[in-house]
């Protein structure tokens, strides 16, 4: 994942967080709980996330740090 751009890293981190989280069972389940369309979530994962506030929001939702999205 180290060669990925920061925004793509953030997208991949979201994928991993959804997979690991006990709060949601799937991307569809996360989309529903998070209050977004599943296509939007899929776009974040595949095209990356460039908005700081969105990453902050997701970090709070999963209870992780902002920096975790780029490691």
């Amino acid at each position: 994942m180290s060669n990925l751009s920061p925004r793509m890293k953030a997208g991949q981190k979201l994928r991993a967080l959804i997979a690991e989280s006990e709060r949601c069972k799937s991307q569809e389940d996360f989309a529903e709980q998070y209050g977004a369309d599943v296509r939007t979530i899929s776009r974040y994962i595949n095209n990356g996330i460039k908005d700081v506030d969105l990453i902050q929001d997701l970090a709070d939702w999963f209870g992780v740090e902002f920096a975790d999205f780029f490691q």
Binding site: P6, R39, T40, R43, W61
Partner: protein, 431 residues
């Protein structure tokens, strides 16, 4: 004896004031329902009396909205105006709740300033500022610089910050929240009862008035076409709902209609709600989307959500559905849905924003959350944690809105249903 013109004018003015009061008693405004918008989206309020002549159409519509009869409005019947206010204590609570919430935006000194303005005029003083905007802005720059080390390009060295603004929330105390919500639960139970009774049989006149009033107050719209489902419209929709496979069971309520009042009403803004897990749980069971809204509210209390434009910002085309909207130019909503199969609500919300502010207004903004200090949180931190916990535990209940039937439709099938529902409700409103 015939009334003089002056007497008639006075009486018309009194009826107009009475009608305004009726709306305000239920935390609504006459102009929400009776306004026309010009090309710049500027409203013109349509009066009940135009040049001394009453508009029968407005009178009948106002009566339907308020759950009164036209005669009760014309005779300024105070008992009738208080009919729902007395039946549901929720309405008296709501006015009080709302005033306290508004006061909490400004902090101490708000009510004194409010009183001063009422006595000495609007310009006699300013409302107190609760937070130090300059300090928030300085801290925001630190957050931006920190974020830039992970996401290069976040901080624009040498550029100016334009149009800075921030949004935040705070908790206030409303010890009577339980009594307030008990009455609200009664309202929700009642509207569902009336909705499904109307499905099976005709309602009597008082029931129709109550149903129509609750549809207005709760802002109940058809889930597909987003038009209000008043009684006449509902009666016409029932055969269509049946054709679509619905049986008229109570659990289908959320599949058929949206209760838009849920989006405006935030009982979790008071501390006592966050402290009462059982009450929160009951509320979530009638409004499943509340969980996410509670989580978001917790964040809004915890942070200043700052927005601004960099002076050197490049307009970045928005991703779907926005970029779809831009690329496809001037397509109608129907054509857009047919072409793209995008999420209808998302598109409609986006189109509403574009209609209000224009596409340019949406582009170029940077948003970032700046944590509050403990002084700024002023003891709210503990309620933030409670609320985020209540909003974030999926195993703790909350009925799921069944959207499987709706989601199984293709874009064009869904569009056809929207058009059918829209036409039915439009025709019913002309009856």
């Amino acid at each position: 004896m015939a009334k003089s013109k002056k007497q008639q004018r006075q009486e018309n003015a009194q009826i107009t004031m009475f009608l305004d009061d009726c709306f305000e008693r239920y935390s609504m405004k006459y102009e929400w329902f009776f306004a026309e918008y010009d090309g710049d989206n500027k409203p013109t309020v349509l009066p009940l009396f135009q040049d001394g002549v009453i508009s029968e159409k407005i009178l009948v519509r106002a009566a339907e909205i308020l759950g009164m009869t036209p005669d009760e409005i014309l005779s300024q019947n105070k008992e009738a105006a208080l009919r729902w206010y007395k039946k549901y204590p929720f309405f008296a609570h709501l006015l009080h709740f709302h005033n306290l919430r508004v006061g909490s935006f400004h902090g101490e000194g708000f009510f004194t300033a409010h009183l001063m303005k009422a006595i000495f005029g609007e310009n006699s003083c300013d409302y107190p500022e609760r937070y130090d905007e300059a300090a928030i802005r300085t801290r925001m720059i630190e957050v931006l610089k920190n974020a830039d080390s992970f996401l290069p390009g976040t901080y624009h060295e040498g550029a100016e910050i334009l149009d800075f603004r921030y949004e935040t929330e705070q908790f206030f105390s409303y010890p009577a929240i339980r009594e307030m919500l008990e009455s609200f639960f009664d309202i929700i139970t009642r509207i569902k009862t009336l909705f499904f009774k109307a499905w099976k049989e005709n309602l009597d006149e008082p029931e129709i008035m109550e149903y129509n009033f609750l549809v207005t107050f709760l802002d109940i719209t058809d889930v597909l076409c987003c038009a209000p489902v008043y009684y006449t419209g509902l009666k016409r929709l029932v055969p269509i709902y049946r054709e679509e496979g619905y049986r008229g069971d109570e659990e289908e309520f959320s599949e058929l209609v949206l209760v838009k009042f849920f989006r405006r009403f935030k009982p979790w803004a008071c501390k006592e709600f966050a402290e009462n897990a059982d009450l929160a749980q009951r509320y979530v069971s009638i409004n499943p989307n509340a969980k996410n809204a509670m989580f978001e509210y917790g964040r809004l209390v915890k942070y200043f959500l700052c927005s601004f434009k960099w002076s050197d910002a490049e307009i970045d085309p928005y991703e779907s559905p926005e970029d779809v909207f831009e690329q496809l130019g001037n397509m109608t909503m129907e054509e857009l849905i047919r072409e793209t199969d995008q999420d209808i609500i998302e598109l409609q919300n986006y189109q509403e924003t574009v209609n209000k502010t224009g596409v340019g207004e949406l582009a170029g903004w940077t948003h970032i959350a700046v944590p509050k200090s403990s002084e700024e949180l002023n003891g709210d931190g503990i309620y933030v944690e409670k609320l985020i916990r209540l909003g974030g535990v999926p195993s703790k209940g909350g009925v799921r809105i069944n959207r499987s039937r709706e989601n199984s439709l293709s874009g064009s099938e869904r569009l056809n249903r929207i058009l059918v529902h829209k036409n039915v409700l439009r025709e019913a409103s002309y009856e």
